[in-house]
Each structure stands twice: as C-alpha cells, then as structure tokens.
C-alpha cells in the first residue's frame, strides 16, 4: 500500500467518522431534553465541522480550507457562549 493510498483511505475513514459524529450530535439535539444539551450538541457539531473542513482540505489539497477551519474554531465558540448566556441570564450583553 503506497502512502497516497493509505492517506486516501485514512481520509475517507476520518470523514465517515466525523459525519457519524455529526449525525449523532444531531440526534442528541433532537432528543434534548434540556436547552443545555442542545447547546452542547450544537457546539459539538461546530467542532465536527472544523474536522470535516480540515479533512476536506487534506483530501482536495486546498490550503485555504484550513483558514476556514481556523475561522470556525476561533469564532464558533462565540455563538455557543451567546446561547449559553441567554439561557443563564437572558441578556447576553449586560
């Protein structure tokens, strides 16, 4: 097995794993039962999305994808924090 083949198999496995993670998070989102569960599910989906974008970048060999991943990683937590603050305090900027 050449390294390239190995890489492509690894990428496919990673993708399927991440996609499974997404689907499972989605199921958690649907089940709930509390808002905290749903926010955590959404946050996990964001993290899985970062992984998906990076793996896509490796797969297609495009560097710019990593910057998209960087952006999601850097700012994705902001919406999670905002949602969490909302259920805690109601007012996200006080």
């Amino acid at each position: 097995m050449s390294p390239d083949e190995f890489l492509s198999i690894a990428v496919i496995i990673a993708m399927i794993t991440l996609a499974t993670g997404q689907v499972l998070s989605m199921i958690r989102f649907v089940i709930g039962p509390t808002s905290s569960d749903r926010i955590l599910a959404l946050d996990t989906m964001v993290i899985n999305a970062i992984g998906l974008v990076i793996v896509l970048g490796i797969h297609q060999g495009v560097k710019v994808y990593f910057e998209v991943a960087l952006l999601i990683a850097m700012l994705g937590f902001v919406s999670t924090v905002a949602l969490a603050r909302f259920i805690l305090r109601g007012d996200i900027i006080e």
């Binding site: 996609a19 689907v23 749903r38 999305a49 998906l52 996200i92 900027i93």
Partner: protein
C-alpha cells in the same frame, strides 16, 4: 461671455445670499443683484453676434452615448427670453429687497430666486432637449420652493403642492414627448431637430409626441384645462408672482411651443388643439378675472387669459400670428410685471388685496396710481400704449383664422375676450384707485419708497415708449420672429403701426373698449348674477382627484405591502412561479448536456442533516429559542457545504454572518415572548404551506434543470474571470467584482448598510427618550437568572483571543484581493472580536473603553470609499476607476499596492461600524435601573481586595 457662464452664474451665485444673510439685508439683496447683473451683462456681450444673425453656441460632451450633451445656443428667441428673465429679474430683486419684511429670511428667498433664474436661463439657452428637460424640472422644483416660501401659510403650501403636481405631471408627459421627437429626428439637438420638419410631421409618432409635448407646455403655461394652478400659486410673495407667474416661468411653455414651432406647427392637429386651447383659456380667464375680488387673483386670471391669447396666436400657424405672439410676449411681460408689482405695493401699504376694501387710493398713492393705471390701460388695449398694438395685431390675425369652418367664431370670441379684458382692467383701476377716499383701510396707505416703485416705473416707461414709437421695437421683434420661424416661413413684410387705417381689427378694438366700459357700468347686477350661479371650483376638484389617487394607492399598498413578511414572500413566490410556469409551458427545454455527479455517503449525511434541520425549524418555529439554534445548525451545514463545493470565501462570510445573526437575534429575543402564538386560521396556514411547498419545488426544478445544462449565452463570469487579474490586479475574482467591477454597487450598499444601522440607533434612542423608557428600566426579567454577570473564565478567554482574532482579520483583509477574504469578511471578524468583549465584561465596561463612536466609524468608511472613488477624477478617469502597482521595499518581497485596497478599507470600516452600532443599540435597550454598572472587567477577581459583597450584582441578587 461664454454661454456656460451665463447659465452657471445664477447657480453659483445661489450660494451667496445664504452666506450674506448675516451681513444684512442690503448686502444680501446686493449680492443677488450683482450676480444677476453680471449674467445680464454677459448676455448683452453676445448681442452684436445675435443682431448679426449668428447663433452663438457652446458645447461640452456630457453623456454622448445617450445623446445628452451640455450644448447651449443663443439665437434671437433665446436672447429675447434670457433678456426678459435677467432684465426683469434685476427689477424684481430690487423690488423684493423692499418688499420682504424683517421677519422673512431674505437669504433663503434670494437663493431660491437665483436657482429659479438659472434654471429658466438654462431652458431658453439649451440646444439639447434632454438638457432642456433637466432645466424644465428644475424650474418646477424651484418654483415649488418659491410659492411655498411663506411656510406658515397653508395656502402657500397647498398652492406650491398643486403647482408642483400639475407642472410635474406635465413635465413627465413632456419627457415622453421630447424623447419621441428625438427618436424621430435621430438627435436630441434642437439644431438638428428643427431641420427635420417634413420627416417629423410624416412620422406616425408625430401625433403622440405632439400631444405629450403640448401637455407639458399647457400645464406650465396654465392653459385650459390646467389653468387652475396659477391663481393658487398667487399665495407666493408678490415678487415671485410678478417674476414667475407673469413674466417668466409661465412663458416657458410658450417658449417651447415657439421653439418647436417650425417642426410642430402647420398641421391640422396643431392648429385645432393649440388654437382651441388658447381661445378657451383666453375667454375663460378673462371672464373669471372680472369677478375676482383679490387683486392678485384678478391679475392671475388675466395672465391666464393673455397666455391663452399668445397660445392661440402660435396655434394659427401663420408667420403673422408668430409675429404678433412675439410682440405680445414682450408687451405682456412689461405691463403685467408692472401691474403685479403695483398690486404688491397696494397690498404692502394698505395691508389688503381685497378690491372691495379698496378704492380712492389715487389721493393717497398718486405714484402707484399713475404706474398701475398706465399698465392697466395698456393691458386693456388703449391706443398709444404697447398693449393696444399687439392686441390689434392679434385681432387682425383672428380675422383670418377659421376654426371648425365657422368664419366668425374666432374673431367673435377674441373680441369678446378683449372686451372682458378691457372690463377687468377698468375694474382694476376704478375699484382700487378711483372713487371716493375711504376711511376704513386696514392700514394707512401711502406711496412706498422709490426702491419699490422704481422697478414698475421703469417697465411702464417701456410700455409708453413702445406704445408711441413701435418702430424702435420692430427690428428686435422681427429678429426674434425670424428665429422662431426658422426655415419654415418668412417673416411677414408688415410693420407695427399705431394707425393701420379702417380695418376690421380697429372696429373690433373699438367694440372691445366700449363694451368694456358698458360692462363696468352694469357691473353690480352682473356680479350678483355671477355669484348666484354655482361654478365648478378647481381646488376641491383637484384635491378630490388627488385624494382619489391616494385612496387607490393606499388600497394597492395595503394589499401588497401590509407589513407582514409572509405576504411579501407569498406575492414574490407566486409571481415568480407563475412566470416560470409560463416560460416552461410556452418555451422549450433542451436536452441535458451534463451527466449527474456521483455523491458519497458523507455529503449525503450533510445533506440529510441540512434537510432535517430545516424541517425541524419549520415544525418547531413557534419555540423561538429552539428555532434560533436550528438556524445555527443550518448555517453551519451550509458553510461546510460551501467548502465542499470549493467556495471557501462564501463559507467564511456565511459563518461570520451566522455568528453575528445569532447574537443580534438573542439580543432581540430578550425583549420578545419566547413563543410565537398561532394567529392565522387553519385554512390560511394550509394556503401558506402550499405556497411554500410549491415555491420550494419550483426552485428545485429550476436549479435541477439549470445545473444539467450549459448556459445558452456566455455567462458574465467569463468576462470577470478573464479580466480580474488583467484589469483589477487581483486573482480573487469575488473581491475584484466587489471592489472594482461592481465597485459602485458596493459603494451604494455600504451606504445603505450605514443608514440601516443609524436607523436602528435612532429608533432605540427614540424609545429610550419616550414613555417606554420607564418600562424598560423597571423591566423584570422573564426567567430566573443564574451565575455571575461577568465570569472570569470568559473574560480571560476573550482577552486572550482578541489579538489573535484581530490579527486574522487584518490578514484576511490584506490578502483579500488575491485570495478569499476582503473588507467585508474581516469587518465581520473584527466586529465579533469586539462583541466578545461586550459579552464578557458588560456594556458599561466596554463602552467606557470605546474611543471612537460607531457613527463616526461608519462615516469614515463611507468617506474613505467615496474619496477613493473621487481620487480617480484627478487622473481624468471615471468615478472609482481602480489602479494598482507593484512595489518593493527591502527587505520584503515585491508586493502589490492597489487603490481597491483603500476602497476595501472603507467597506471594512462601514461594516464594523454598522454591525457594532446595531448590536450596541440593542444592548443599550436592555439596561435596567436596579442593576448597577460594574467598573471592573469581571465580578470575581482574586487580585482585587475590595470585600466581595460590595461587588455589583452579586449572585444573591440574580433571581
């Protein structure tokens, strides 16, 4: 002087009166006078050339592709009107200086007056009919301002609105007419159009063009049935009435008829429409004028009548008619402006214009009496005054005019009109100045200072000079007539004489004057008869008409635009689907040219989640918080989808917009109920659902068909791809489109963005200033509150992240021209970095550290973008032409500098300012009275040594 200066001087000079306002009334009027005088002298310098029969021209290409060029020409006709406009303008300015009271804002008045003057000179000197249209509309607008100058008078405001509505409507019609004329002639230059008489009159578009142009002329010159606005415009200050509504603006329609006379006249359509309208206007105006008690209304209707007379003369289509018309325009301008100014003097001194309260003023105001009497007698057609000469020429012209095959119709009506005209002139003199002196005037009338009576006196001298020695005016009148006739006809070989011998016109004149005296003798019973009859009143009819249109507009608007988004979405979708269905049924669809692509399990999973989240959103949308989280999922999946389809810049934009949206909606949700109640009936929901499903399926069908086929024509993206680097210096096509190809659109968009943000700010400020303020401040949170306000962990995290995020934003901004990124995305990124600080340490803490207000940031952005665009003017390139170059500063590698980056900086600043201003405005609303603002970045800080219970909003008070 170049024609450009003559037209430009009043416009440029319009800046001065406002500035000179503080320097006093004399300075203000003086500077206006000097500006007009300069333009007037400039006009006179062109007199020798005009007298020599030349046509002075000036030309600058403006938009040659559209046929719109700044071309001016000065021939006899143009000179004549410009001379009237500027010459009478000088007198009016001198008169207005003394007429306006100390409470009136003189700077404002003279600014409007100069704007009007410039527009008017522009009309008469334009060679290009599109340019003429521009000036034409400008006169409507500036006259609106002038009529409504006394803003405290409702009549003034209503009169101004009516004048604008009527003349504006005519202007619209005229745009169509002149465009047709230009299309027929193949050029918008008058000099070309005037040479194409046969081609234009033979064209099938001649009749519609003629009707539309005449609609414009008739509304402007107050011809029947559009005569009603002019008397209502008399609510204006008298200098305005004298200037606009007797001497200049109302003659604009006549000017245009004269200007286009060579190509439009001579056909049966022209003859019947113009002559009939003129004749009806003349008789109707004269009859109404006789029974008006307001001096200015009397003069207004007499103006209507005289304009009708001139129109009728132009309508005859004979060279002699034009000759008489030109002469009467000159005479009417002299005596009518003098009359208006006299009426203004009476109004000014006696404090009333009601003729029933006047009489006997000859003893108190001898100078005004002489001036007004001479002018009125001239209007009545008394020999040895100029009005007699042109009126007799008019009567002579009518004897040769046969309308509807009745030989006596036109002469009889013209004689009747002259008779009524003489009668109202006699009434004007008799009831104002003659008769016994009264002692119940509202004020003590006396002659005004010379500043007020000199201007009309100068005009009256002209009235007499022309009246006694018409030979002096004859060469000039013939010159103008020649300019009107052009190549269409020869100037008639007749002379203006006081005595023509015993011709029919003389008898008609005699009948008119004696009849006028007779009417005066039986005036009282006539008036009783007149007032006992019901007459149609123009104002209620006009207002009813406007109200009717408003009702229709409101009905349509409320149907289409009822404030519910669902309504707009439904209308939009139904229309698009119907149009698409029509295209599908009537058109043809080619075979698929592309094969379906294979899809792996991962994209399928992503797609399934997207669909699931969307369906969940639809089902659960009544729980607003849950719906918001669903939107988060949809946004995330769409972002990943964009990456999958190789559009990383879209993914970045989508994701940052998503974050900002969630923050914004959460801020709003704080004030809203957490659930959406069911408001519509089940039937309505079924309807909405079916529209939504049909719309969705149609969109799918369209996308499916489109993606399987090649485009029919070359898509514009080919051009963008080919020219992005070559022309714009960037390899990121999206960014080059935004800042270069479509830079002007982007410029407009950032302005809209800024306006939207400022509007949100203004709305919240209004709320906080109003009665809602108390309610907002004492609001009790609708859910229990837990935890601390400003947790340490979040504060530390956001502080650490901030420089990193800013660096990324800076990086993405800089390289945006060549790779995904740019001002918009980096603006969003930086905004999120700042919002994080607001969330972590609170509104108060963050606002304290704000150095530049967000309004300023928006303004700076728009300004930088605009200045970048203007910069290209200095190298004589169109607005927003971008340029780029490569420089090398050791030790760096060679890099690119593009003006587009500056423009992008403007976009960046506008986005940051707009996002932050709207978020800040929302969170400003959420301030509460019983929560103290913390000065510290976080609530629990080990490095602080103040006792914990003194800290703001300790967890105990949270619930």
């Amino acid at each position: 002087m170049s024609l450009f200066f003559i037209v430009a001087l009043p416009f440029l000079g319009a800046l001065l009166p406002g500035v000179m306002n503080a320097a006093g009334r004399a300075a203000c009027a003086g500077v206006t006078f000097v500006v007009t005088l300069m333009a007037f002298v400039g006009l006179l310098t062109n007199l020798p050339a005009v007298l020599a029969g030349q046509v002075v021209t000036a030309r600058i290409d403006w938009m040659p592709q559209l046929g719109l060029n700044f071309t001016l020409m000065l021939d006899g006709l143009g000179f004549f009107f410009a001379f009237l406009i500027l010459g009478i303008g000088l007198l009016i300015i001198a008169y207005g200086r003394h007429y306006l009271s100390r409470n009136d804002n003189m700077g404002e008045f003279f600014t409007y007056l100069l704007l009007f003057q410039g527009a008017m000179v522009g009309i008469v000197l334009s060679d290009n009919i599109l340019l003429l249209l521009v000036f034409w509309e400008l006169t409507s607008l500036s006259s609106f301002l002038l009529i409504g100058y006394w803003k405290h008078l409702p009549e003034g405001r209503q009169g101004a609105r009516m004048a604008l509505a009527v003349t504006g409507m005519g202007g619209l019609a005229m745009i169509g007419g002149l465009m047709m004329l230009g299309q027929i002639a193949g050029s918008y230059e008058l000099s070309v159009i005037l040479q194409n008489r046969e081609a234009i009159q033979a064209d099938p578009l001649y009749t519609p063009a003629l009707l539309l142009i005449l609609l414009g002329c008739f509304t402007k010159s107050a011809q029947f049935p559009f005569h009603f606005w002019l008397p209502h415009a008399m609510a204006a200050p008298t200098p305005v009435s004298a200037y606009l509504h007797s001497a200049t603006m109302v003659k604009a329609g006549i000017f245009l008829m004269a200007r286009l006379w060579p190509v439009l006249s001579g056909t049966p359509e022209w003859f019947v429409i113009v002559t009939t309208a003129g004749l009806v206007t003349m008789v109707l105006g004269a009859v109404i004028a006789l029974f008006k008690h307001d001096l200015k209304a009397l003069l207004a209707f007499s103006t209507v009548s005289h304009l009708g007379l001139i129109t009728m003369l132009l309508g005859t289509g004979t060279a002699f008619g034009v000759f008489a018309a030109v002469f009467h325009i000159l005479n009417h301008a002299t005596f009518k402006a003098a009359l208006f100014m006299s009426a203004g003097i009476v109004d000014h001194e006696a404090k009333t214009r009601d003729i029933r309260q006047l009489g006997g003023l000859r003893h108190l105001m001898p100078v005004t009496f002489v001036i007004a009497t001479i002018a009125a007698l001239s209007m009545a057609g008394i020999p040895l005054l100029n009005g007699f000469l042109s009126k007799e020429m008019m009567l002579e012209a009518t004897t040769k005019t046969v309308l509807f095959d009745i030989w006596w119709l036109v002469p009889a009506l013209a004689t009747f009109g002259s008779l009524m005209s003489a009668a109202y002139c006699f009434r004007f003199i008799g009831h104002t100045f003659l008769g016994p002196r009264r002692d119940d005037y509202p004020a003590q009338p006396h002659d005004p200072n010379p500043g007020m009576w000199m201007p009309p006196a100068i005009l009256v001298v002209l009235v007499i000079v022309i009246g006694i020695a018409p030979a002096l005016a004859e060469p000039f009148v013939k010159l103008v007539t020649n300019a009107v006739l052009g190549t269409a006809a020869e100037v008639p070989d007749k002379h203006i004489k006081i005595w023509h011998g015993l011709i029919p016109a003389l008898y008609m004149s005699i009948v008119a004057i004696i009849g006028g005296l007779f009417v005066m003798a039986v005036f009282k019973p006539l008036l009783r008869f007149w007032e006992s009859r019901a007459r149609p009143e123009a104002k209620p009819m006009f207002e009813g008409f406007v109200e009717g249109i408003a009702v229709i507009a409101r009905f349509v608007t409320h149907r289409l635009h009822n404030g519910a988004f669902t309504r707009y979405a439904m209308i939009g979708f139904v229309t698009i689907v119907a149009a698409g269905y029509h295209a599908w049924v009537t058109g043809t669809v080619g075979d698929a040219t592309r094969a379906m692509q294979q899809v792996g399990p991962v994209p399928i999973a992503g797609w399934a989640m997207l669909v699931a989240a969307t369906c969940g959103l639809v089902i659960l949308h009544r729980n607003r918080f849950l719906a918001l989280m669903m939107i988060g999922i949809v946004g995330l999946m769409v972002s990943v989808g964009f990456v999958y389809f190789s559009a990383p810049d879209l993914a970045m934009t989508q994701f940052t917009v998503e974050v900002v949206t969630i923050i914004l909606l959460l801020l709003a949700l704080n004030f809203l109920p957490k659930g959406t109640p069911i408001e519509s009936t089940p039937l309505r929901r079924v309807r909405d659902a079916s529209v939504a499903i049909i719309g969705g399926l149609a969109t799918f069908a369209l996308a499916f068909h489109y993606m399987l086929r090649d485009a029919v024509t070359t898509p514009i993206s080919e051009f963008h791809l080919a020219n992005s680097y070559k022309g714009g210096g960037g390899t990121n096509v999206v960014n080059v489109i935004l800042v270069d190809f479509r830079g002007f659109d982007t410029y407009g968009e950032i302005i809209v963005l800024g306006i939207a943000a400022l509007l949100i700010y203004a709305l919240t400020e209004t709320l906080l200033d109003g009665p809602v303020r108390r309610k907002l401040l004492n609001r009790v949170p609708d859910q229990p509150r837990a935890g601390d306000m400003h947790p340490m962990m979040m504060v530390v995290l956001t502080r650490v992240t901030m420089p990193v995020v800013l660096l990324v934003g800076f990086y993405i901004f800089l390289r945006g021209h060549n790779e995904p990124g740019g001002g918009f995305i980096s603006g969003l990124i930086v905004s999120i970095a700042v919002v994080m600080q607001y969330m972590a340490s609170g509104f108060h803490w963050a606002s304290d550290r704000l150095r530049y207000p967000y309004h300023g940031v928006i303004g700076a952005g728009v300004l930088i973008a605009g200045l970048t665009g203007i910069g290209s003017w200095f190298v004589t390139k169109p607005f927003l032409t971008s340029d780029f170059t490569y420089v090398r500063i050791p030790p760096f590698n060679e890099f690119e500098l593009a003006t587009a980056a500056l423009f992008d900086l403007g976009v960046f600043l506008a986005v940051v300012g707009a996002v932050m201003l709207s978020l800040e405005s929302f969170s400003r609303l959420a301030r509460r009275a019983n929560v103290e603002d913390s000065e510290y970045p976080m609530d629990i800080d080990p490095s602080r040594d103040d006792p914990p219970d003194a800290r703001a909003d300790a967890p105990t008070g949270g619930g």
